[in-house]
């Protein structure tokens, strides 16, 4: 009975290790592919060039100097009573 128990335990252990091994070997393949792709990847300065372009052409309501078009709705926070006299009750 003890021998049987030991071999069942072994089988489960083997199953688990096989699954783990499969995962690690799969990871090796993914990492090798990533290393290969890195060989064709742009250097950072190329990405920076793109980033500068993206940032500078987009309108931004929070900047003192920004590309248009201006939208009147950006300033809706300053229309009406300053501070917005709304509901001040606390939820207890």
């Amino acid at each position: 009975m003890e021998e049987e128990g030991a071999s069942v335990g072994d089988a489960r252990g083997k199953h688990r290790i096989l699954a783990e091994l499969g995962r690690v070997e799969q990871e090796v393949k993914f990492l090798e592919k990533e290393l290969e792709e890195l060989g064709q990847t742009d250097i950072v300065s190329t990405v920076c060039e793109e980033l500068l372009c993206v940032i500078e052409k987009a309108p931004d309501p929070l900047l003192p100097l920004t590309k248009g078009p201006f939208n009147l709705a950006w300033d809706r926070w300053f229309e009406g009573p300053n501070g917005g006299e709304g509901c001040r009750c606390y939820i207890l």
Binding site: S45, P61, L62, W74, I91
Partner: protein, 378 residues
């Protein structure tokens, strides 16, 4: 093959993985010929200059009686949902400061909340390990209790963050202390996909934050206590598309850049970083000087509409640095302005049109910040 032979093969494969990771790190370093700040200076750019009264606190939302932990705007501009230590979700009209809902939660230990794209439901999650969905058209009893319309259960740890998939009221993504992220179908309450966990590769510690790309809702990024951020494609859950290294501490917060092809992170190591999705490069490190050598944990971040500004809340009294993302400099501290918070800022969110930033704090308030100075539009 015997168990011992398998174990040996496993050890060899693990060694190969470690070597490959080292080689990847080295190869990546070789491609880091500059960073955004050095490049921008070389291109003749100068930092954004704010006048003393340009960014102002134009609303203080009063009502919570405990620390605010999370907030989210609706896509249709003016409404916010917030979650607090007081065990409530409050829905605000940020323009009028009115509270439209104050939902008493079945579990007071809430950590995150989110608005659905159509603005009709809110989701929250926390230490109860579930994500609860509430319909805003349900009637509350006098206590503020609203029936839960759906419970998304299945996580084996706390729900740290939740976000609806843009333009899809039926799907949301959660991150959890159980090291996984999950894409849920809200109508059935079932998991559509699990990212990471016991049987798939992914994070190896609690996941603290998620952010879904606005330009490609199949992509989302996650940040974890394992110091990495991961990019996932919801169509292929078995493995992260890419893992981003660099941080030396828990990644507390991740946020997509407005164009959807880059993302920012904030960490316990005191830095924010900007990463590029396509190349996997770390583009810039934003590290404050002073304050104990720039080691104050970053609690939350948000980008302005163009991405030129990065707002970052830190784990001390009220500091919220406004970073010029191109020049890598702090151009303002909201904590130094009039009417600033009196305690740590725990969460940040930008309105859909980029005209206002909402900050939530341990002082139990939310504040709305907008540009009130003279604006030049070219």
């Amino acid at each position: 093959m015997s168990v011992s032979e398998l174990k040996e093969r496993h050890a060899v494969a693990t060694e190969t993985v470690n070597n490959l990771r080292d080689r990847l790190r080295q190869r990546r370093l070789q491609l880091l010929d500059t960073d955004v700040a050095k490049y921008s200076v070389a291109q003749g750019r100068s930092p954004v200059k704010f006048g003393a009264t340009d960014l102002v606190c134009c609303r203080t939302l009063l009502g919570h009686t405990g620390k605010v932990y999370s907030l989210d705007w609706t896509p249709e501009r003016n409404r916010i949902v917030s979650a607090s230590q007081d065990g409530r979700l409050i829905v605000w009209n940020a323009l009028t400061s009115q509270k439209t809902h104050a939902i008493k939660l079945p579990c007071a230990w809430v950590m995150t909340c989110a608005f659905s794209p159509n603005g009709q439901t809110v989701a929250c999650g926390g230490l109860d390990s579930v994500c609860s969905i509430f319909s805003l058209s349900s009637t509350a009893d006098k206590d503020g209790t609203v029936p839960v319309s759906r419970i998304l259960s299945g996580h084996r740890g706390y729900v740290s963050c939740c976000q609806y998939v843009p333009n899809e009221d039926t799907h949301l993504i959660t991150s959890s202390g159980d090291q996984t992220c999950v894409l849920w179908d809200v109508t059935t309450g079932l998991k559509t996909s699990v990212f990471g966990g016991e049987f798939q590769s992914g994070h190896t510690a609690d996941v603290l934050s998620v952010s879904i790309s606005g330009s490609n809702p199949n992509w989302f990024v996650s940040g974890s206590c394992d110091t990495t951020a991961c990019l996932w494609d919801t169509r292929a859950a078995s493995r992260a598309v890419r893992t981003f290294h660099g941080h030396q501490g828990d990644v507390n917060t991740v946020k997509f850049f407005p164009d959807g092809y880059r993302f920012g992170t904030g960490s316990d190591d005191g830095t924010c970083r900007l990463y590029d999705l396509r190349t996997g490069h770390q583009l810039q490190v934003y590290q404050a000087h002073g304050d104990g050598g720039g080691k104050l944990p970053v609690t939350s971040i948000a980008f302005s509409a163009s991405g030129r500004l990065l707002f970052a809340g830190y784990a001390n009294n009220s500091t919220c640095y406004v970073w010029d993302t191109l020049l890598g400099e702090v151009v303002l501290d909201l904590g130094e302005l009039q009417d600033s918070h009196k305690n740590r800022i725990s969460c940040l969110g930008m309105s859909a049109d980029g005209s206002a930033l909402c900050t939530g704090s341990w002082d139990s308030n939310l504040k709305i910040w907008a540009f009130g100075g003279h604006r030049r539009v070219t």
